[in-house]
Structures are given as C-alpha cells and as structure tokens.
C-alpha cells in the first residue's frame, strides 16, 4: 500500500475536532526534555491530522470523525461513581474519572507503584520508557493521550520477582460527563512475572475516556493481562494497548468487551527478541446500538516468535462489531508462527459484523494463517438441545456461553476467569429479560 496521501488541505474541523484542539491549546506543554518534546509533537500531530475517518484504513469501520459528535470538557470529578468490580485476592488501585485513589499500603516485595503525576514531578527514570514502544504511525487517541498526559500510574516489577497476587487497576467513570485521559506504564523486568487486571466501568453519563497502557515485558519475563470493559450506554471509550516483548518473553492477554456507546481498542504487539510468545484473546458481547472495534497489530520484527489471537464477538439488537487484525512478518523474521481467528455470532438481523484479518509477510520460512467466520446460531444445535427438553432461551444461552467460552478458557487464573464468566452470564440473562 502506498503511504496514506498527505492531505494538502484538511477538511474543515468537526465540532469534536475543534473541542479537542481547544483542549490542547488550553493545556500548553511547558516542560522541557524528552517528555515535553514527545507531548508537543503529539499535540502538533493531532492539530495537523485531526480525527480519523473511513478513508484511513485502520479506522475504516469506525469513522471517528463522523461518530464523535461532541467532546465533553476536562473537569475535576464531582462525584465518585460507585464501586469497582472486585477480583478475589487482587491488590486494587482505583482511578475515579482519572483521579488516582489511595495507593495500597503494602505491596509485594519488588513491586513499586506510583502515580504518573509523582513520576513526572520527580523526573523518574522509568519515564524514559513512556512512548518508547509506541507505533510511528499517527493514531489520534494515542496522540491525544500523550499530549494531555498527567493522570495515571507507573508500575514496576523488579528483575526476577514473581508477583503472586494479581494487581488490579480499576477505572470508574461517570457522575458528570467529562473527558478523561489516563495512562498506565508497566515495566516487568527481566525474568519477573506479573498478573495485571484492568477494568473500565462507568454509569450512564456521556463521558469520554481515552486510555493508553504501555507494557514492557523484559527478557524471559511474563505478563498475564486481563482487561474488562463494561461501560455506560452513552460513553465513548478509546483504548490503546502497547506491548513490547523482550527475548523469550511471554504476554497473554484476555479482553472482555461489553462495550460503551462507542468503543475502540487498538492493540500493538511487538516482538523485540527471539523466542517471544504473544497471545491476545477476547470476547465481545454487545447489545443495543453499541459499536465496538478491536484492532490488532502484531509485529513480528524478529525471528522465531509465536503469536496467537482468538476473538469471539456476539452481537444482539443493532450492535456492530468490528475486528481488524494484522500480522506483519518482517523480512528477517524467519520461523515465525502466527495464527489469528475471529468468529462472530449474529443474534439479530439488525446487527453487523465487519471482519478484516490481514497478513503482511516478507519472510518465506513462516507458518501464518488467519480465519474469520460470521453467522447465526446453528439451528441444528439448537434443535438438538431443545429436543432434549431445554427451553429455547436456555439452549441459546448454553450455545453462546460455549461459543464465547472458548476464548475465556485461556485465562489461567480460575478465580479471575470466574469473575469474567459471571459478567458474561449477566449479559446473557439481561438479554432475555
């Protein structure tokens, strides 16, 4: 593909673009050094390129320029919205509308956690990693998040430390509609291991959350990552996940998306050393008019790595699911093994699923494949279950659970898996109510 042609004259700014540009000029970047440069460049990039539209290939099915009508102001939280989902045994930090709550009094040996604001104030050395693995290609949510940097956390696991308890970063949104930009920087040093849970929940307010998680997984390190997103019907969620893997590193993620009015998750996985393993799985259960887009980029930059992606999308009512996945195998990345699968179940004639799995391969000694399916519940299976005496609703639920369950099975921690399954069951029950 030729590079996206440079627009010589940008179309007029939409109200949302104008609001975001105003937001940027209201918070000018004054700091010096690397971070300041990074933020200024990101702000300039947004001012130049604006929001993506359907002619931008990566956003073909989620035309942000058209879908993002208004952008609420950034404002301090007025009320704290509810209580975050709890995972058994997890150490939890809560961010309410981006504001970091009390940090845990005790953390396991070798784990340090500090607010991004404190890290910036003290010019913490870990901040050198911030933005270091971000993709070069312009991406509006990432650029905005970088330009408006401030809220968030920095989590560090020292070399060789195996953290037994999961650490949960719970984000809650709502009360009053606001725009919230949060950033999570996680560094798991050589040989260490961590189980990280991120949750995003909100009420019915028309808020916008733009959140970026940057994960650095050192040589021989392992990170298990669970991401639960269950937000309000009026919310807009723009999420970015950047995972940078060292030699023999392992990263396994599971993403449960119950959505927002509009939600987008962009995942960038990059192998920096041989022997890496990356597994990104997910289930999206969407109802009403929710629109959820999951877009993956897996960059096999070096030889001898393995990637596995499996996504299950269940669509009810007028929901729209989007899956885009791109496996890139660079010229020297021989012995790459990549498999990607996206499957969608359409429960309603008004639902829509757009699938775009992509392979871009420049090395010959590779095994790569992708598959994609879309369809309704299998009539024969339904009939079988109903002929055994199950009511239709129950039979449907069972089949949907089995369908989505294939992806959840990859969550190794049984207690965590149970919480996720409970969320899925609740979604199914609400559908029939």
């Amino acid at each position: 593909m030729n590079a996206e042609p440079k627009m010589t004259s940008r179309p007029t700014r939409t109200p949302a673009e104008q609001a975001l540009a105003d937001m940027l000029s209201a918070a000018p970047v004054s700091e010096a050094g690397r971070l300041g440069e990074l933020r200024r460049a990101a702000a300039a990039a947004f001012v130049e390129n604006g929001l993506p539209h359907r002619r931008v290939e990566e956003w073909h099915y989620t035309d942000l320029r058209a879908l993002l009508r208004t952008v609420p102001a950034r404002r301090a939280a007025t009320s704290t919205p509810g209580e975050a989902v709890s995972f058994p045994n997890a150490i939890r930090v809560t961010l309410a509308n981006g504001e970091v709550g009390p940090l845990p009094a005790e953390l396991p040996q070798g784990v340090s956690l500090l607010t991004l604001a404190d890290a910036i104030a003290s010019d913490h050395p870990l901040l050198q990693r911030l933005g270091a693995a971000a993709p070069a290609l312009y991406d509006a949510p990432l650029a905005l998040n970088t330009a408006l940097l401030g809220a968030g956390l920095v989590l560090h696991v020292a070399a060789g430390v195996k953290v037994a308890r999961p650490i949960q970063v719970a984000q809650l949104f709502g009360g009053e509609a606001a725009s919230v930009f949060t950033r999570l920087l996680v560094v798991v040093e050589e040989g260490a291991s961590l189980s990280l849970i991120e949750s995003f929940e909100g009420d019915g307010a028309a808020y916008l959350d733009d959140t970026v998680s940057e994960l650095f997984i050192g040589d021989g390190a392992a990170l298990d990552h669970v991401r639960l997103q269950a937000e309000g019907a009026a919310a807009i969620h723009l999420g970015t996940l950047v995972a940078d893997l060292g030699r023999d590193a392992r990263y396994d993620a599971f993403v449960l998306t119950l959505g927002a009015a509009l939600s987008r998750l962009t995942v960038h996985g990059r192998f920096g050393g041989t022997g890496g393993h990356l597994g990104v799985r997910g289930a999206s259960l969407l109802s009403d008019k929710r629109h959820a887009d999951v877009t993956l980029f897996v960059d096999h930059a070096v030889a001898g790595c393995e990637s596995r992606e499996l996504f299950k999308t269940v669509l009810a009512d007028s929901a729209r699911g989007v899956f885009q996945g791109k496996i890139i195998v660079r010229p020297d990345a021989q012995k790459t093994d990549g498999r990607m699968m996206s499957q969608a179940l359409l429960l309603s004639d008004d639902a829509e699923m757009d699938n775009k799995p992509e392979l871009e391969i420049f090395a010959d000694d590779v095994q790569c494949g992708h598959g994609a399916t879309a369809g309704a519940l299998d009539g024969k299976m339904l009939f079988y279950l109903m002929s055994r005496g199950l009511p239709r609703e129950e039979a449907e639920m069972l089949l949907i659970q089995a369908f989505a369950g294939e992806a959840v099975e990859f969550v190794a921690d049984l207690a965590v898996r149970e919480v996720l399954t409970a969320h899925m069951t609740r979604w199914l029950e609400e559908r029939h109510r």
Binding site: M1, N2, P5, E57, P331, Q334, A344, L346, L347, S348, D349, D350, A351, E352, M353, D354, N355, K356, P357, E358, L359, E360, I361, F362, A363, D364, D365, V366, Q367, C368, G369, H370, G371, A372, T373, A374, G375, A376
Partner: protein, 490 residues
C-alpha cells in the same frame, strides 16, 4: 546446499527475460495523435463511425475522469503515469473487410501465439478430438481484427462480434446494457476506459440457448507506447449458458504499456456465464524495467434469480496487476465464484482479488485464491465479501493460500468481510507458507529433479483452480505456470 537454499539461489538467478511472447510484429499502423484530450475522444469515436449518443457518453466520461483522483490504496508502487505520453488509439492500416484481407503479418502473429484465427485451422483441430472448437475474436492493439465462426454462432442466435460492430448493428442491446454494471464514474481507470475504449468483444446469448462452443478473445498490444482499452460486454439472457475465454500477450518493450480494460457481464434469470482469463502480459525484465500496467475493472451482475457467474483467472504476466473481478449477487439464489492463481516473479506487483456483494436471498459465493510469490515480487490478495440487510441466507466460503518461494518476496492477504444479516454465514481462511522440506525431500528421493519436484508441488497447490479452467486452457495454464516460475520452480 540444502534443497531450499538451492531453490532460493535459482530464484535469484531467474531470468525473467525469457518471456516467450515478446516478439514485435512489423506492420504499419495508424495511430491517434499522442496524448489525451476531448479531441482524442472525438477522434476515436469518429474512427469507429459511432452514433452521437456514444460520443456523448464518452465525452461525459472524459469530463468526469478529469475530476477524479488516481487511486493509491493498492499495495503497488510505480512512478506517476503521464497520461499524455500514451497513444490512445492504434490500429493496423487498411481495415480488413473479411478474414482473407487480414494482414498476413497479423495472422502470423496470432499463429505464433497459437490461436487458430482461420476457421479452417480450427476445423482441422476438430478432427483430433482433443481440440474442441473455439470461436475467437482477436484484438490487435486497439481494434478487433477478426471474429471466427460467426455464421455458425448466428445459427444458434448467439451474437459474437467486436463491440464497435455491436454499437453499429445492435444499438438497442448495447444501449440497454453497456455501463449498467460498471457505471461511467465507477473508478478512475474504468472512467478512462469509458472515454477512450477502442474495441473489445460483445456477446449476446438469447433465452434458453446454450452457446454451442467456447468463445474466446485474444488481446495483443503491439504498438509502442500504446494503451489498450478494451471493453467487453457479455449478456446471457434467461436460461442461457456461455463460456468465455480471454488471453493476453504483449511484446517486450522497455516502456510501461498501459492496459485498462472494463468487462461487464450480465446474467439474467437462470443464466450462467463462465469467464476464464489467462493473463500473460509482458511482466518487465529482470530489473523490473518495462512491462504492462494492468488496471482492469471486471464485474458481473447476477441480475436474475438462480443466475450464476464464475470467474477463473490465471495471472502470470504484467508488471503491475490491479484487478478485482467481482459479482453482484442481486437475484435470489444467485451464485458467484472466483477461482484465481496469481503468480508473481521478478519485480512484479500483484494486487488482486474479488468482491462478492450479496444482495438477494439465499445467494452463495465461493472464493479460492492461490498466490505464489517468487523473486522480488509482491503478491496481495484483497477481497470483499458483504451481505446486505436483505440478503437472508447468504453464504460465502473463502480460501486464500499463499506460497512464498525465496526470502525476498512478499505475500499479503487483506480480506474484508461485512455481515449485515444474521442468517448470513461467512467462512474465511488463509494460510501462508513455503514449500515444505518434507514434500521436496519425498519427491527428490523418488528420483524427481529439483525443478520437477517443485513444479509438481506447485501444480498440486493450484490444482483446485486449474480444475475450473476449460480443458484446453488448463493445459496451457499449466505450461504457463511452469514457464513463469522457470529457473525458480521448474
């Protein structure tokens, strides 16, 4: 040296210059002045004695084309085309009145290409049972020079002639269907074609008729710096069947020649069209110099219920291929098929695939695509399958496999699947791999040479598609595959 390394070494050494059809025929030709303007469009139209409505249609297209941007989304790169540097019309001097008046040089050209232009030759062919009869329309640069078997086809009611002739003889059919599948401003190259198309084939099969023989067109670009813009229109009326073959070659030139064709197929109720292409335009030399830019719009419209359109293509030539034969499945129970083998070697760039647009109820489509990349080439499959809201029971199966030979080429897959109906069932699978060492070893230890072994494996890889070709073309295609990968894979 391991078998694979050897293969790689051979790919590097491959001599793409051995293009078999690279000869130039020395005949006098008449050309339109170089460049493109309204005058060029008027000149072409006047040369062909076209009616006023045709000229208007062309001029409308030309004016729209001026406002359109060149597409850049395909994964191909080439220097900007100077559209003023081409001849938009060239034809052999002295237009032939009958087949006996055709310049013997042209006849010789087609003989070299192995196309039986004279019925006599073809009739001789029948005597040996393995050579079924094929009616041929031959297009040399911009004009159709001969159409064979006309009389016999006319007996069955089938109209098979050049499109210029159809505009003169059957204006009612042409006006009704031309541009009804690919509208004037469909895309940059189709619009250009509409403005300057010079010739092509026209087929009309009346209701209930099964066309008694295969129809075929052979295209050849001979003149230097010419663009070939052919236009093909095939209409299968209710309950009819036609199988159509198309082949292409061009001489070796250092310059890039432009080929921007438009093919429109219309299948009415219960009709079936089978369209096969063996594309072997000159691919350029081993350094990527010269070769044809093949920017083609091919689309079939399954307009009636229970209609079927099937595309089969073997793409081995062209420096750049940009081609997406598509099916619009409008009629209920209509069916679309796309079988493709795309081979790229040397510096070739291929961005090809299909679109299956499901609009009617219980429509089905099947896509089988086999891409083989060798040398320094890039081979992309790009396809769209979509089911619209009312397309209840739509069904698609897609299989794209890519084979990489050597580590300097690229193979890419970009499928789009858009399901807007719950009862639509879409399945897609794609794989990319190289020839396995095990398979090679097995063949070698059975006494096959390296080249034979690779050819055998590649032929097995593409077999699903080859089977779809009419018999005599399958044989030709198989040879072509071997020639295209010569030096690399037998």
């Amino acid at each position: 040296m391991s078998a694979v390394q050897e293969t790689v070494a051979q790919v590097r050494a491959i001599d793409v210059d051995q293009y078999k059809y690279g000869f130039v025929t020395d005949i006098e030709s008449e050309k339109a002045p170089k460049g493109l303007s309204e005058d060029t469009v008027r000149y072409i139209s006047a040369q062909k004695n076209e009616p006023e409505w045709m000229l208007e249609w062309r001029l409308d297209a030309y004016r729209r084309w001026l406002t359109m941007p060149e597409p850049t989304w395909a994964r191909v790169s080439y220097p900007k085309i100077d559209f003023q540097d081409y001849y938009y019309f060239a034809r052999p001097k002295a237009a032939p009145k009958s087949i006996d008046e055709i310049d013997p040089e042209i006849l010789k050209t087609y003989e070299k290409l192995g196309i039986p232009l004279r019925e006599r030759d073809a009739l001789l062919g029948i005597e040996s049972a393995d050579k079924p009869r094929v009616a041929v329309d031959a297009v040399f640069d911009s004009v159709s020079v001969a159409t064979t078997f006309k009389a016999e086809l006319a007996k069955a009611g089938v109209i098979f002639c050049s499109i210029s002739e159809a505009i003169r003889e059957h204006p009612e059919l042409v006006r009704k269907y031309l541009g009804s599948v690919v509208p004037v401003s469909d895309n940059f190259y189709a619009t250009l074609n509409t403005a300057v198309f010079s010739d092509g084939s026209f087929v009309y099969v009346p209701p209930g008729v099964r066309c008694p023989m295969e129809l075929s067109t052979y295209f050849r670009i001979n003149e230097k710096n010419t663009g070939q813009f052919e236009r093909t229109l095939i209409i299968a009326d209710e309950g009819s069947y036609v199988s159509y073959l198309e082949g292409c070659t061009a001489p070796q030139r250092d310059e890039n020649q432009l080929h921007a064709a438009v093919v429109e197929l219309v299948a009415l109720k219960d009709a079936e069209i089978k369209y096969s292409t063996v594309q072997n335009w000159y691919p350029g030399d081993k350094d990527g110099k010269g070769g044809i830019y093949n920017f083609v719009t091919k689309r079939g419209d399954c307009r009636g219920d229970n209609s079927k359109i099937s595309w089969t293509q073997v793409e081995t030539g062209s420096a750049i291929t940009w081609k997406y034969p598509s099916c619009i499945l409008r009629g209920d129970n209509s069916r679309g098929e796309f079988y493709s083998i795309a081979i790229s070697n040397g510096h070739q760039q291929v961005d090809s695939g299909t679109k299956m647009i499901h609009l009617g109820k219980n429509t089905s489509s099947r896509i089988i695509s086999k891409g083989i990349s060798a040398g320094r080439s890039n081979n992309t499959y790009r396809g769209l399958v979509s089911a619209h809201k009312k397309a209840a029971g739509a069904r698609n199966f897609t299989n794209c496999d890519s084979l990489l030979i050597g580590d300097t080429c690229g193979a890419h897959t970009v499928p789009y699947m858009e399901a807007k109906n719950a009862s639509a069932v879409f399945e897609h699978e794609a794989t990319t791999s190289k020839i396995s060492e095990d398979q090679l070893f097995y063949c070698l230890q059975r006494g096959l040479s390296q080249e034979e072994a690779v050819a055998l494996i590649v032929n097995g890889f593409v077999r699903d598609v080859l089977q779809q070709l009419p018999m005599e073309f399958a044989v030709e295609a198989q040879k072509l595959i071997a020639v295209s990968l010569e030096g690399s894979v037998g």
